[in-house]
């Protein structure tokens, strides 16, 4: 074998190997990791949602890696700082995600195919204050209301209430009967009293978006009657809560209701799939009662969850492909039915199969929707308004603070850092 032929052979071999290598790299599937706080939904992502995507994208493998909800924000921030966070980031609504975007952790997604499926209102929670840049693909909103034990209502001959006086008459009847705890709510964690309590019944009093925007623009104060009244109503809930409600946690309340020991659960629609699995009785739902018959009803219809792209992701093209799929009607249908109670934010209506979820969704037609009052802009400073609502909501129900005192504390806290743009 002459030397030139030998060299040629080696070169040919290298060429072949290089091509094969390139081919192998091209064919190797890319793995995308999703950061999320929805550890309750792990099975649904693994069994229903991800396989549906992988079927059409054989070159991409998706892994869903959730953290506990209360630890998510802290864990995510640390991971992003260290550069070890996943490719796709589940976005909390409003300021937490906005801060991530401003720090350059999330990529702007304005040009993403399918973004047109969302109205600007649906995108508000993940859009900059000037309304120009959207940085997460909206996935779902949740609606507040009350879930009740239908069997218990039938046994006691009760009907869901429409007005606040009816609501209290109903609670009184359940209490007089004594079989059931009227309301499954604990004040221990604060989160329940703020979300399931104040932000559930509040919009009826402060007139939803009108009241919320008035607060942001400095035209209303938390000490105004329409903001104090919900606290006064919450204080009246106290006699109808279970024994030792001061030490009752969120999980305790859920169990109290699903074990059939409580009649009414002040809820959010995200509970539906969990309750379907746990409860052995028929479930019903009613919207927050209005003050007097004929009043417009208001519901908290809160954009809660979205998906964004980590700026440091090594596979932005594949991650965008996933996000485009998330923005598609196909995903909306799959997600809303796999997780009843998480309602799609897309323009096109999604057919729902769960009757309870349908009932929650039906209020969108009859009531006016608003988002939780503390989430946009008003929780950017210290002291944090949302956290103060947790503490003061519990204080009011525990009787530690009178409604007016609680409201004064909230307004004082807000005034200390928030100057509404005039």
């Amino acid at each position: 074998m002459s030397i030139p032929r030998f060299i040629f052979g080696v070169l040919a071999l290298i060429a072949v190997l290089t091509c094969a290598g390139a081919g192998a790299v091209w064919a190797a599937p890319v793995t995308l990791t999703i950061e999320s706080w929805r550890n309750d939904d792990l099975a649904i992502w693994q069994e229903k949602i991800i396989p549906a995507f992988e079927k059409t994208h054989p070159d991409i493998i998706v892994k869903f890696e959730p953290t506990a909800p209360t630890e998510y924000n802290a864990a995510l921030n640390s991971k992003l700082d260290a550069g070890t966070a996943g490719d796709l980031i589940t976005c909390r609504p409003f300021d937490a995600s906005l801060q991530l975007f401003q720090k350059g952790r999330l990529v702007p997604l304005n040009g993403l195919k399918g973004m047109g499926n969302f109205s600007s209102v649906a995108r508000t929670a993940w859009t900059t204050d000037d309304g120009k840049t959207t940085f997460c693909v909206p996935m779902a909103a949740v609606i507040h209301g009350f879930i009740y034990n239908k069997d218990a209502f039938d046994k006691l001959g009760l009907k869901p209430p429409a007005t606040v006086p009816e609501f209290f008459a109903l609670l009184e009847k359940i209490k007089a009967d004594g079989t059931y705890v009227p309301l499954a709510l604990g004040t221990k964690e604060g989160w329940e009293t703020a979300s399931m309590g104040y932000q559930n019944i509040g919009p009826t009093y402060y007139k939803g978006e009108t009241g919320r925007l008035a607060l942001i623009h400095g035209k209303a104060k938390l000490t105004d009657p329409q903001w104090v009244e919900p606290f006064a109503v919450l204080a009246k809930w106290r006699p109808y809560l279970g024994d030792g409600f001061e030490a009752q946690s969120y999980a305790d309340s859920q169990n109290l209701f699903t074990l059939g020991r409580a009649a009414i659960y002040p809820a959010g629609s995200w509970e539906i799939s969990g309750f379907r699995k746990q409860a052995t009785f028929a479930l019903g739902a009613f919207a927050p009662p209005v003050q007097k018959a004929g009043d417009t009803c208001y519901i908290s219809d809160h954009p809660d969850i979205a998906l964004g792209l980590n700026a440091k992701s090594p596979h932005p093209a594949q991650a965008k492909a996933f996000l485009e799929w998330v923005a598609s009607p196909e995903f909306a249908k799959l997600y809303a039915n796999a997780l009843p109670g998480f309602f799609s934010l897309q323009r096109a209506p999604v057919a729902l199969s769960d009757p309870l979820a349908l009932q929650f969704a039906s209020w969108r037609g009859t009531c006016k929707s608003t988002i939780r009052p503390t989430y946009q802009i008003l929780s950017r400073g210290t002291p944090n308004l949302e956290n103060m609502f947790w503490v003061e909501g519990s204080n009011v129900i525990n009787g530690t603070d009178a409604p007016a005192v609680a409201a004064a504390k909230l307004q004082k806290g807000l005034d200390s850092w928030y100057k509404p743009a005039k």
Partner: protein, 308 residues
């Protein structure tokens, strides 16, 4: 005649080699982060940059009502928690004195049983006690009911007036084994001759414990106390597990550890502030440092030690 051999310059590299692992690891995981924290507390964040801020963060922490209310409240709670926690020392020493009695039966069993909770994870302890004390599913209401004391039960962890005290007792229950074991070890190492001499002099029973044994174990007690102090001002886990990071109800169980967690990492809608968080951490460090110094320079020197 003995001749002292001339001092030779021996190879001392082994000293460096043996010290290196500990020094390097300790520096990397303790000393550098500590100084980094101190440094961080002197800066503030502006956009994506840290800007020199002097001691302004401390001013905010002490005097600006937005931060200071939480800080002083947490500090007060921490001191109260420490006072409750110190109960574990007399109880532990008392238990050790009982265990050290020569005629005690099943001493090994008691020793193990009392020490066991110390080995449990605080998560198990926290959740366990939360369940025991739960007004819904707990055994505490029914147990109290069985002896006719149901009226004494209240949702202890849910009331502002009792939550922190309850946590203090849970912590005492968990850690009482540590002072007990240390005091027990000190007690059984007292030579029999001293005890015999005391008995010959007519010092027996309770008087013997207070006048002979207790003075001999003072150094151990001092050490236990300072360990309790350090552990206490670093505490976070038990409160976080049982009451959440907000120190529910109404911040009544909020201690410096939970305040630091909320400030540094953020909580729910509250965004994290690394500089303010580092300021809280620095204060915790300084408080512990001051406590340890007081102990080292004021207390420890007054304790007389006896060599047997």
């Amino acid at each position: 005649m003995t001749r002292v051999p001339p001092r030779t310059r021996r190879n001392r590299t082994h000293i460096v080699v043996f010290l290196a692992p500990a020094v390097l690891i300790y520096t990397a995981v303790m000393i550098v982060p500590l100084f980094e924290t101190l440094r961080l507390s002197l800066f503030t964040t502006s956009g994506n940059h840290f800007v020199w801020n002097g001691v302004a963060n401390f001013g905010v922490l002490f005097f600006d009502e937005r931060q200071s209310l939480g800080f002083w409240n947490a500090l007060r709670n921490n001191v109260y928690f420490f006072v409750i926690q110190m109960l574990q020392n007399p109880i532990g020493i008392g238990l050790a004195a009982l265990l050290a009695l020569p005629r005690l039966r099943a001493g090994a069993f008691y020793r193990t049983a009392i020490f066991l909770p110390t080995l449990l994870s605080f998560v198990i302890v926290g959740f366990g006690w939360k369940l025991i004390l739960s007004p819904l599913w707990g055994v505490a209401p029914s147990l109290l009911g069985a002896v006719g004391l149901k009226g004494l039960f209240a949702p202890y962890l849910g009331r502002e007036s009792s939550a922190l005290t309850t946590l203090g007792f849970i912590s005492v229950w968990q850690y009482v084994g540590v002072p007990m074991m240390l005091a027990y070890a000190a007690l059984i190492s007292i030579p029999d001759e001293i005890i015999d001499a005391a008995e010959v002099d007519g010092v027996v029973g309770i008087a013997q414990f207070f006048r002979v044994k207790l003075p001999l174990i003072w150094p151990t007690i001092g050490m236990i106390s300072i360990l309790t102090f350090v552990g206490n001002f670093n505490a976070f886990d038990l409160v976080y597990v049982t009451q959440g990071a907000l120190g529910a109800p109404n911040y009544s169980t909020d201690i410096l550890g939970t305040l630091l967690y909320r400030t540094f990492f953020g909580y729910q809608l509250q965004l994290g502030d690394p500089n303010m968080g580092a300021t809280v951490a620095t204060m915790m460090f300084l408080i512990i440092l001051a406590g340890v110094c007081v102990y080292l320079f004021a207390v420890q020197r007054k304790i007389s030690r006896y060599q047997f």
